[in-house]
Assembly symmetry: C2
């Protein structure tokens, strides 16, 4: 703890990624990453504020937290910043009614959103629901709009399951961008607004100079807009 | 014919696109575009050499020609330049063994190609076969290669069926490019090599200054590398 203490001097909070940091998904729900359960427990015992910040968009926060608790993590739904609730806020603020191309597991997050007569498309990591038919439908909705708006929950290229690498939402976002000649709005990492809202929920301001840390066996992501990209690429800890 | 005669002075051949020019696909095979059957017949009666140059990659040339004959066109398989045979030549020349993500209708064009232990991926307009599972498999094959090669039969954004606009291979090509961090090699229009091979098969050299024509009711595409992009964008005739 001595080395940690020195390196964390002046640091007030830590944002932790979930997929690929706390666990790798896969059959039977997935497996915890070695060392991460204890690393989270130690962070929570420290004076630091801790929050979880994920682009997970196949599961509702409720289901994700239930899985993580089953894997041994001390975590509650209120500690998780995820893109679907952030997207819902944007939809409400801008009067947008989405056509949803999302995984059934996350659909409940959009239960309060008006999806009649769509004037935008929201895509997330839809997994098997990324059929040609569903992609074509989303494409046709966009092509019929005078001002097509595509909101993507993340822009990840792929993610790791226990068995293999899997295509993530970013690939399908690019497909629709190219087909429609538009640019998506990304909600989730690495959008600075997304990190800022997580910091706000944690009660920490992003005005401190960031540092990079490596915490053995647990990749920890950052706060502070400057470190967003670095930390995502290197899976280092930036606080 | 007088106006045509003047405008075609010095021109030796014409390359005609097929989908969206001779016919629009759709239920029951599709419908001929008004005026095009007669326009093709007139061109064939003229002193001009005529050849058909298509990015169609859901059907083998045999099936495509059978459909066009049924719609009233005077056309034979030997008059069609299509990307699948061009891709097969490239695969053979470079010792590439493809993992195929293509429509079942065009698979027969690859019957003579070794597809064991793949060292590249070939994608075409696979339609309903663009499932998440199939896209993920193509992605995983590419990610396992030291030098990933992705060959795309065309890079169209979408095409028109009688009922609606449909996502084309280009969108899925972009998805794989982004996910793997690579750039695809495009076989088919608008690759200059593809047009040049069509000219060679027609016995015409691409050294003449091109002209732009508009032939009522039949959009006609070009030869000569200079006019490739213009003609594809505007659906004009360049000879």
């Amino acid at each position: 703890m001595a080395a940690w203490g020195e390196r964390l001097a002046g640091v007030r909070g830590v944002l932790l990624d979930i997929s690929g940091v706390l666990y790798d998904g896969g059959e039977g729900g997935g497996a915890p990453i070695a060392g991460s359960v204890e690393a989270v427990a130690r962070l929570k015992r420290s004076r630091l504020k801790v929050r979880f910040c994920t682009n997970e968009s196949q599961k509702s926060r409720g289901r994700l937290v239930a899985l993580l608790r089953q894997l041994g993590y001390d975590i509650s739904e209120g500690e998780v910043t995820a893109p679907a609730p952030a997207a819902c806020r944007i939809l409400r603020e801008r009067g947008l009614r989405p056509h949803l191309l999302v995984h059934d597991g996350v659909r409940s997050e959009f239960a309060q959103v008006d999806t009649s007569n769509p004037n935008c498309v929201v895509i997330a990591d839809a997994g098997e629901s990324f059929s040609y038919q569903n992609m074509n439908k989303a494409f046709q909705v966009l092509m019929e709009l005078d001002n097509p708006v595509l909101i993507s929950l993340g822009r990840g290229r792929y993610y790791k399951e226990t068995s293999a690498l899997m295509l993530d939402v970013g690939a399908y976002m690019k497909a629709l961008e190219y087909a429609c000649g538009i640019e998506a709005e990304v909600v989730g990492k690495p959008s600075p607004e997304f990190f800022e809202s997580a910091l706000q929920q944690m009660g920490v301001e992003a005005h401190q100079k960031f540092q990079l840390l490596r915490i053995p066996m647990a990749s920890v992501i950052c706060f502070g807009p400057e470190c967003v990209h670095t930390s995502l690429e290197s899976r280092e800890c930036a606080v």
